[in-house]
Amino acid sequence: MCFLREAYGAAPDRLVYLAHTPQFLPFGPASWNPDPQAAAIVRKALAVVVIGAHMQGYVREHLGRDAAVISSADLWKDTS
């Protein structure tokens, strides 16, 4: 989580968190390294982006905030 803290320190109002794998998130039951302080940073982030509805629900349930779904598969299709 050190880069999250570093980025938050440099740009606290412009942080967008890309939430991929539950094990690497600082919150939630699947986290390998729960970190309440890092979770608080993510909760305050300008936006949280996930790749699908499953992760959107996971963020909603375990962090208590909205996340935007942007499918990288769809973007790949659109830009190719």
Binding site: F3, L4, E6, A10, L15, T21, P22, Q23, L25, G52
Partner: protein, 159 residues
Amino acid sequence: MRVLLLVRIHESFGIELSIDDVYSAGLTLAELAQRIDLLQLGDLDSAEYAELLQEIEAMSDDEVRHLLAEVSRRADPPDIETAAHSPPRGGSTRSNLIWLEHLASSGHECRVVCSGEPGDASAGGVAILSVKDLVRNRCVLSAEIRGFRPDFVLVSSRI
């Protein structure tokens, strides 16, 4: 029988397992499939493999179909210089790069700061700065943010 299995695996997947791999006590089909996957995926470690599976499982059937179609079509990727993002390792990094390439194609100036052999590279219009041992030298990250003054700072959960 096991030798025949090794031959079939080689024929089907183009990889060579050792006889020890299939003589391992208690080796299940799922474990054998994982070994084949890891060998095919190259540098991925087991954590990255787990991450990749999670991402695939989080996709809808349509998303997976789109991805497979694009992978097949892009069988000959462009040459990219050395950096942790180029070529990207792991599903998260690939997704991040796709998002950034999309932003770059929309006219945004995008810059990646990542761990890797020191140097600058680019991929799909995205500038990539690789920093050796970025964890120890993470002050470079905040210096880049202050110098580049981006509208948004995207931080991946992978890090």
